[in-house]
Symmetry: C2
Subunit: 449 residues, 2 copies
């Protein structure tokens, strides 16, 4: 175990002394990386926070992922809440993590702007994640292992069960965690040896030419990928043509997933998915608005056995609770930066276990792959006990900007071993891509001025 | 008709030339005005935008209502979107108002921060409302009359039907509006003569002493109020004691509503409402999370014939669609500042008509009474055709800061006759309460420094 970041004996001895918040943007729209039905020109960005401490070399990092415009709003929101941790000891937070989470998400004045959704919730998530990154670094463990080694009681104390108790009570959550305690050590060893299954979205963006799609499919197959995802939703004719190309390249034994990115109304989703069924999709992702629990339920009923997947835009645990309790989703796609951080994702993982729905995290963006791998690995070790039907999304973008980037081998995520939540970005990248002062943006802004 | 603000013949001739955005806060927490189960110390606030035009004296006003902290985030969000209207003619917006609304709520990059919820959605709403205020002033009509005189075709063209068509299609909306066209003129006359029914929340805040509650109830009865609302949700015992006092003061013939402000989980809500049933509440408002459509449905089923009311925190039309389609709410409480402005509220009013659910707008806050009266009056004239079972909330706070404050007579809102959406605040108030530079805040901040 790496203990370089473990200078003190108790988290009582670690005090948060300040923070920095930066607006970081990558000009990804130049090449239509990340283009989908509703996001046609994303500039992958993040509001990036670093917590400073009184311990040499010990920091915590968190981020709100966005796709460009509005990143400044997330920075303002982080500024508005981040002072609340300054002066606190790490122990004062980690000893009652659910209370800390509620302080942020339930602030009597700020909650008016949500409650528990949108900008203020995402900012709370980044701050909470920064504390977890700090806590894992202090512990000398990667986050997945820190979580996996917490006791069921400690994990349940991290969760805010408010608005969940009709579906899941704390005692029941405790029981689910206790059931899976046997075999933890073996699963940790297996994970370290074999990694975690994944799928790739790198071939399927809307903005790519047919030739490029074909080429990327061949490369993906050669690299060992067995599950590929494509974007759909702008034109059914175009979707069918691209699906045919991909199916031709990957054959009938590999799996194809489709992602509509909320492009359709409910009836439209049903008829389009039926038309796309000939290409044998494993799941249809975000067929309609992420807010439409009943709409998803209707679609799921109509398109079975094609699965319905959603989650990257699901605002909080309350939406997940409903989606799961009425069978509106067959695949739960947690996101590390949408909800209130690790704590709310623990609640969602517990709900998924309760309703027996596999968790296949959303990733891509800026540092999402780096973060969600920890959550999926924890889920395997401490909750689901299996990787069957589980996949972490993988997108081959922007990893070079991270200090501890993901390691993919033959289409699988290998378990990170460095302490923390793998969120830290390289100092060079932060300086180069800071908006609008960084050199990448100064060049562009002066050309368009 | 007042035509002082009608200097041009065509909205083509009105050009938006700029905007001002101000952070306005009232220190209402001093006296616990507005205290409820989850908001115990609100400082009623708003992010206030004024659109400037090239026509002498012609401006448009909009605001995001908040309860204090985080108001600065809404100001940042307004800054991020408001430039999009600068340089545009009024006609370029009003000729396809749904397209304008979609430009703001569907911006390919900004929608990541919602989509269509929270800070970015509320900011879009304020900007859209400012355009409506401008449009109504240009038309020389109060907003309710401008809307009531638009044709069914023009109204339907204002609505973004995306994610609604499984419940309500444009043709059906058109038909609902056409059905109610006969009798419009008579209803306008009746409204001008009799006003619109209302209820008061002024006696029911949690922070007041029993003696003050009793006194306020007596005053309310003397003023002619027949419907009063109280806050509940912190302590059932306390709620019962206060409910007994209010019921004693108002008698069995007047109506008492209860508002839990999201304090309860689903099972808790059901058992608490059953315990409060002895005080004969007309409705229970926000019994649980506004995101919990299925939870509301379960509560509604369990506590009938007590009605379930919600809406002030319902993020968008998609949540309302679901709440209404499964009978999860009996009373639809639209809010002028939560959703994407007048346009999205038109969608919600149409849904309420479709599902035959009475609309009783949420008000109070900063300028909410001033705004929602227009929407309720339009609903009566053009959609519902009745005031039966309809009530606008009234709270006696902060009206003195508005140029065109509401007029209440014997517990009814009298129809405003000045052009616009009644959002404009007095220049003096803006200067005094601007945060942190205004004198009210400079005094406070220097005392606590």
């Amino acid at each position: 175990m790496n203990s370089a970041y473990h200078p003190a004996n108790s988290p009582d001895d670690v005090r948060i002394t300040g923070h920095t918040i930066r607006d970081i943007r990558f000009p990804t729209s130049d090449e239509l990386h990340g283009s989908d039905a509703l996001n046609n020109d994303p500039d992958y960005s993040c509001a990036y926070i670093t917590l400073l401490t009184d311990q040499p070399g010990l920091k915590g990092h968190g981020l709100v992922f966005t796709i460009g415009r509005g990143n400044e709003i997330c920075c303002t929101a982080l500024q508005s809440i981040a002072d609340s941790v300054v002066g606190r000891s790490l122990a004062s937070i980690t000893s009652d993590f659910a209370a800390f989470s509620r302080e942020l998400t339930g602030d009597a004045q700020m909650r008016w702007l949500g409650p528990e959704k949108g900008v203020v919730h995402m900012a709370a998530g980044a701050l909470i994640n920064a504390v977890w990154d700090l806590y894992a670094r202090w512990s000398g463990k990667p986050l997945w292992l820190l979580l996996a080694e917490l006791s069921p009681e400690e994990l349940v104390r991290c969760v805010d069960f408010s608005y969940l108790t009709d579906a899941l009570k704390p005692d029941e959550a405790l029981e689910l965690l206790r059931q899976m305690a046997p075999g933890k050590a073996q699963r940790i060893e297996r994970l370290k040896a074999e990694g975690f299954p994944a799928y790739t979205t790198s071939a399927g963006w809307l903005g790519y030419s047919d030739q490029r799609i074909r080429q990327l499919c061949r490369e993906a197959v050669a690299e060992g990928w067995t599950h590929l995802k494509m974007k759909v939703g702008v034109s059914l004719e175009d979707d069918c043509r691209r699906a045919a190309i991909i199916r031709e390249e990957i054959g009938s034994q590999r799996f194809l997933m489709m992602d509509a990115n909320q492009a359709w109304d409910v009836e439209e989703a049903i008829s389009n998915v039926r038309a796309l069924a000939v290409y044998d999709p494993l799941w249809i992702e975000e067929p309609t608005s992420p807010d439409d629990v009943l709409g998803h339920a209707e679609i799921a009923k109509a398109v079975t056995p094609i699965k319905v997947a959603s989650g990257e835009h699901c605002q909080n645990r309350i939406i997940f609770k409903q989606l799961m309790s009425i069978g509106a989703i067959d695949v739960c796609q947690i996101d590390s930066c949408r909800v209130a951080g690790v704590n709310e994702n623990l609640a969602i993982l517990l709900l998924a276990r309760k309703f027996d729905i596999p968790v296949c995290p959303h990733a891509g963006g800026v540092g999402l792959c780096e973060q969600v791998q920890h959550l999926a690995m924890f889920d395997y070790i401490a909750l689901s006990g299996t990787t069957e039907g589980r996949l972490i999304e993988y997108v081959d973008h922007l990893h070079e900007h991270f200090v501890d980037p993901v390691t993919i081998e033959k289409g699988r995520y290998m378990a990170p071993d460095r302490p923390g939540y793998s969120i830290e970005m390289k100092a060079d990248s932060l300086a180069t891509f800071e908006y609008p002062a960084g050199p990448v943006w100064q060049g562009r802004l002066s050309r368009t001025a």
